[in-house]
């Protein structure tokens, strides 16, 4: 009567959510940032994002092929990695460097550990860190947005940086720290631009509005919880406020720190990468506070103007320890012997 029935473990129904859907949601959440990048950096944005996505996907495909594993492109996580990597790169970066970064992201950051879900470190940040270490100059050369530099060429040729470059807001704040001077001028002059995004910086990080829009979408879709962003932003704000209270001339005002650099972008899209963040809510708070604090320590005390990438990688490394610390105890308490 009944043919080809199947048996499997209960439960036999599930909620209609898949990994792919989660990843697509993240990509949708990144759309505003990508759009703003497109407006300010034109074809450069498009080329960088395209390069990173294609190379990430292709690398993942090749890795699976080598390991004779089923193709895993369908989960779209490689695409998300590609987009996030691209959005964290300087707009003028040569495409071959972006390709190297993508390959490193996927091979070293992800597939070496066993693919989706296995990686300890955020793949995009591994790629970016490798690029920073390898091509330091290129990775700290910032093209100004097209709205400032009307003459921005349509295509960057690989060898010369022939666009106008500019220091980023954080570079300015670093100068202020070094000179113990003028922090106020910088904050007031740049705060508005960091909100709209009309400043130099990595592709996706410049516009606070676009990031908040995407972040709100992810929160609404429950793709991310509010814990990590809140912890990152809260702790970073606290650290910046302390510095500001100590010396308002040297340290820019805390709001400026929130909107400039990669803090917002990282808080909503990078630190929230579920694979590399702790599992429990308490762990997420600790993780977020760690990311925010380390970022600000590096920004305020360190040699680098921005510390998001390092902070994320460092906290990724201690995530297993955080998980251990925040181990869940059953509702009925620990069993007796």
């Amino acid at each position: 009567m009944l043919k080809d029935i199947t048996v499997s473990f209960a439960p036999h129904i599930s909620q209609p959510l898949s990994t792919r859907r989660v990843m697509i949601d993240v990509a949708v959440g990144l759309l505003p940032a990508m759009a703003v990048a497109g407006i300010y950096f034109r074809i450069h944005a498009l080329l960088l994002i395209g390069t990173c996505v294609i190379w990430c996907a292709a690398t993942e495909w090749v890795c699976n092929q080598i390991r004779r594993k089923p193709n895993s492109l369908g989960d779209f996580s490689a695409v998300v990695t590609g987009i996030i990597l691209a959005l964290s790169l300087p707009p003028g970066l040569s495409l071959w460097a972006a390709a190297i970064g993508s390959v490193v992201s996927i091979v070293v950051g992800k597939m070496a550990f066993g693919g989706l879900g296995a990686n300890v470190f955020n793949p995009a940040m591994v790629g970016r860190a490798f690029l920073t270490a390898s091509f330091g100059v290129m990775m700290t050369t910032w093209t100004v947005p097209a709205s400032i530099d009307a003459g921005m060429p349509d295509l960057s040729s690989d060898d010369t940086v022939d666009t106008r470059t500019q220091a980023t807001p954080l570079a300015w704040s670093k100068t202020a720290i070094k000179d113990k001077n003028e922090a106020k001028t910088y904050s007031s002059r740049l705060l508005f631009s960091t909100v709209t995004g009309e400043v130099a910086g990595s592709l996706g990080e410049t516009s606070a509005i676009a990031i908040l829009l995407g972040g709100a979408y992810l929160l609404w879709r429950k793709t991310i919880g509010f814990h990590i962003p809140a912890a990152v932003l809260g702790s970073a704000f606290a650290a910046a406020a302390i510095a500001y209270l100590v010396n308002a001339d040297a340290y820019v005002q805390p709001f400026f720190h929130l909107t400039s650099g990669a803090l917002l972008f990282g808080a909503f899209f990078i630190a929230t990468d579920p694979v590399t963040a702790p599992l429990t809510r308490r762990g997420m708070w600790l993780f977020g506070i760690g990311v925010g604090t380390v970022t600000m320590v590096i920004r305020i005390l360190g040699e680098y103007p921005e510390g998001m990438m390092f902070a994320v990688l460092l906290m990724n490394a201690v995530t297993p320890l955080i998980d251990r610390l925040c181990k869940r105890i059953p509702a009925g308490g620990r069993p007796h012997a």
Partner: protein, 457 residues
């Protein structure tokens, strides 16, 4: 009592799958099919299986005891119909795979008739001695009908240590699709209440709460009205609970109603609470007042694939096949036959599997209901999204436990309290990666049990 209905009594975490009860909730209990051959499994409960008391070829009466008990935690079996013992052989069992069973060829296959039930006007549980109640329940072969199948007589045993202060009646029926308990509460209200009072009398509990989810307002109303009618009992209360799965799990129910927590690895009696299901309560009344053994039960046959879903009164031992056929067969392309509901039920392969005392439903799911991805087991790796942790009613770390089992690290699984899992399935239900977390946890428990048996301390 309807006036102090309050919402929102519940436990933490859990999920809310689509209820899908509309298929059968308005269908009154009807007699099931006439069956020619019934197989009474000798192990339908937790504890030692009973021993066959008849031989091949013996003639048996309806209600005759055919399986005897040798152990304390055990329940006898009875013949639902008159007929001849056809054979003693292995028959498919929903949990054990195959199990000894007594197959009875019915003398004249007729549809079962619904039990008549007139509560004497002067019914007073105080007239029964607790021991008598317990003994009658034991003789009737009663086991928990809510799913776990623990012999009820052991549960409600008088003078147990520690003393029982509360009797909780489980009318939640939190599983999607199933409506047998609901119909019992609506139609056999007085019988349920009588059973509750008898159970209370037996175990000596001073307080009784009947927990019912707030998606069954009619049942709440009916039970409350019955209590009011009975008049005497100020100590029985209906507690409406928020609709959420697994509200009916006893640990969750106790937490929701009493705000107390059963210790991990423990059972409700440890904190002085007895939990019984409403169908069990009805059967207690049957057993004590009418001396009727547990030979029939109400089964919800449901699912989008069933042509004529409904709630049926069927003899225990009826093959699932016969039931499905009786309900008009399947309409759509069916994908899975589940004994029980879709969250905790057991998928069965062999449709000659007989109905057991604990099996309140047969759900035939279609691919559409299961979801194509789940049907084809399209899994990705765990993305550590933490959703499974968010819903686990026992506050466990399902992904960690499951992956430890998968990687054969049983010590890690144990260190994350694999034993505390109630196998509710919430974690698997929400997992976007479609990982069979509950399945791995179940498997891990089996591994561990075997390991312990092989290596005695």
């Amino acid at each position: 009592m309807t006036d102090d209905l309050k919402d929102g009594c519940t436990f933490s975490r859990g999920v809310h799958p689509p209820e899908s009860k509309h298929l059968t909730e308005d269908r009154p209990i009807e007699p099931g099919p006439a069956v020619g051959e019934l197989s009474i499994l000798l192990s339908q409960h937790i504890g030692a299986p009973c021993q066959a008391a008849v031989m091949k070829g013996d003639l048996v009466e309806a209600g005759q005891r055919i399986g005897e008990c040798q152990a304390f935690v055990c329940a006898p079996a009875h013949a639902p119909v008159a007929g001849k013992v056809k054979e003693l052989a292995l028959k498919p069992h929903p949990v054990l795979g195959r199990c000894q069973a007594i197959t009875i060829e019915a003398q004249d296959p007729t549809p079962p008739s619904l039990p008549s039930f007139d509560l004497p006007a002067d019914f007073d549980p105080a007239r029964y001695k607790p021991d008598e109640i317990c003994e009658a329940v034991r003789d009737a072969g009663l086991v928990g009908m809510g799913g776990a199948g623990f012999p009820t007589s052991v549960k409600i045993q008088p003078d147990a240590k520690p003393p029982k202060h509360t009797l909780l009646v489980n009318g939640c029926e939190c599983e999607p699709y199933i409506t047998c308990d609901y119909r019992i509460m609506l139609e056999w209200t007085d019988q349920v209440l009588a059973g509750i009072r008898l159970a209370q009398r037996a175990c000596g509990a001073s307080k009784v709460f009947i927990g019912i989810e707030d998606n069954k307002p009619k049942a709440i109303e009916a039970m409350s009205a019955a209590i009011a009618r009975a008049g005497s009992t100020g100590d029985i209360r209906v507690v409406p609970l928020q609709t959420k799965y697994p509200q009916g799990g006893e640990r969750q129910l106790i937490n929701a109603v009493l705000g107390r927590t059963v210790p991990t690895g423990g059972i409700p009696p440890m904190i002085g609470v007895v939990v019984i299901n409403v169908a069990t309560a009805a059967a207690i009344a049957d057993a004590v007042l009418y001396n009727r053994p547990l030979t029939h039960r109400v089964v919800t046959v449901t699912g989008e694939a069933i042509a004529r879903p409904g709630n049926y009164y069927v003899p225990i031992g009826t093959p699932v096949e016969a039931l499905i056929e009786f309900c008009g067969g399947v309409t759509e392309k069916s994908a899975k036959v589940v004994m029980g509901g879709p969250m905790m039920g057991l998928a069965i392969a062999d449709l000659t599997t007989p109905i057991t005392k604990t099996g309140g439903a047969v759900t035939v799911l279609t691919r559409h209901q299961i979801g194509q991805a789940k049907f084809e087991r399209r899994q990705t790796a765990c993305i550590r999204c933490g959703r499974c942790l968010e819903v686990c009613p026992e506050n466990l770390n399902p992904t960690r436990i499951a992956h430890a089992v998968k990687s054969n690290l049983l010590d890690v699984a144990e260190s994350h309290f694999i034993g505390a899992c109630i196998e509710c399935g919430c974690c698997s239900y929400v997992c976007p990666a479609n990982i069979e977390l509950t399945g791995y946890i179940k498997t891990g428990k089996i591994f561990l049990a075997r390991q312990r048996k092989k290596m005695p301390a």
